[in-house]
Symmetry: C2
Subunit: 235 residues, 2 copies
DNA sequence: AAGTGGTCTAGACCACTAG
DNA sequence: TAGTGGTCTAGACCACTTT
């Protein structure tokens, strides 16, 4: 029925921060004092404060107390969509085509840190028949041996990997580039025109799992990011 | 000295997920059972599990129990750098120039949802003398009246806002576009060449605070995103 | 040296929901 | 309707760090 106390307290403290009652750098009352004010026990206050820490809004140090952060980094959470789901969710028809499938060899070596042979796949994802994403992927067969037995003719490696393979760490880079001649032709855009590129590398422990470069025609493509948390400084 | 129990337990549970011992969809033992296994009380288990929920790795429902999530969305945390800090951190000289400063009027209306007059600023940030970012900003003077009294000739509005003004919500979009004639000239690139554009809107409660379009030459510019959490499925 | 946050326990009640 | 997670209390001990 009623919201939990720690949540009510969290909301109240949040409001004191965003309203300016507690400006950046201001000291926040001790847990014990807040416990008295809200008529709860200290662990309940601690829970609310812990959430504020997670959201990057306050800093806490033993003996020094708690403060509103001075300069909060601008952070946003980016949700990188599954191609197929993204396209179908927008009501367009999804299309997939495998353009190339090859094992690594001396003329085409895998990424440096791969543990074993690499499987390289070049795929084109389309929305309503128009090129949407060009996927250039390497899979480390030492990490994902099952991939060697799949032809990926009907299903893209993106979806297949997402549903099967675990990872522990990923790194991503976003860039705007000029389409190469090959990319331009495959994506149906003019050579040199802007493309939005997502590069993602994935590891499981120390072992590389997969590395992919996703190229989208710049026109009409956007990545939307939402807040990591509420409150803080604006820019 | 020794890490807290809830952290040790969290790490162990995480390993069972990433190692495949608990594959996606698998049921996780009840809190009580885990409490026995790790020889702690139930709240300590709850703390470790809560962290896993925050990281998007497990789902919990009353009576139904806890499960490893089936399909985890690919999420990454994007840290959008402060221009000046970013440039200086890389050892380059930071340069700033105000190109235009104007109040909104009938020929140049502010963004639709602004509550009051808008202040528009066009600024160029440079690294080692070369254009790095073109900042096209609107500030809602109803939310930030102090901005009207500043000329922004020496300091960019980005930095000024970040250190002073609070917000409660932000939305961001990332796109790759072709440089317009004006942008190309100001950035010192060829018209039509790729630029990386970040668009950010910021509110405090229901009130718009600022809206900005940041344009970077595509060549050499990249945005790096790190994991939101470890574990999950790879793609 | 003292004050603060970090953690943990033991026990309890409640809300939700699957069966 | 019974089992599960969600929350809270009261009390305690410890680690860290500033004074």
């Amino acid at each position: 029925m009623s919201p939990p106390k720690h949540r009510v307290i969290h909301a109240e403290l949040l409001d004191r921060i965003t309203s300016g009652a507690w400006p950046p750098g201001a000291a926040i009352p001790h847990e014990e004092e807040l416990a008295r004010e809200f008529a709860v026990t200290r662990p309940t206050i601690a829970r609310a404060m812990a959430d504020l820490v997670n959201e990057g809004l306050i800093e806490r140090r033993r003996r020094a107390g708690s403060r509103v952060v001075e300069r909060r980094p601008v952070e946003a959470v980016l949700r990188i969509p599954r191609v197929r789901a993204e396209i179908e969710a927008s009501g367009r028809a999804y299309g997939y085509r495998l353009l190339r499938r090859a094992l690594s060899d001396h003329s085409s070596p895998p990424p440096e840190d791969f543990r074993g042979a690499g499987l390289r796949l070049l795929c084109l994802h389309a929305a309503d028949g128009r090129p949407f994403q060009l996927e250039d992927r390497w899979i480390d067969l030492a990490s994902v041996p099952e991939a060697a037995g799949r032809d990926f003719a009907a299903e893209g490696p993106n979806e297949w990997l997402l549903d099967r393979v675990r990872f522990s760490r990923a790194a991503q880079e976003l860039t705007a580039e000029a389409a190469s001649a090959e990319e331009a032709e495959l994506l149906g855009v003019a050579p040199g025109s802007p493309v939005f590129v997502v590069t993602r590398a994935t590891w499981n422990g120390p072992a590389p799992v997969t590395r992919v470069r996703l190229v989208h025609p710049g026109a009409g493509f956007r990545l939307v990011a939402h807040d990591r948390a509420a409150g803080g400084a604006a820019g």
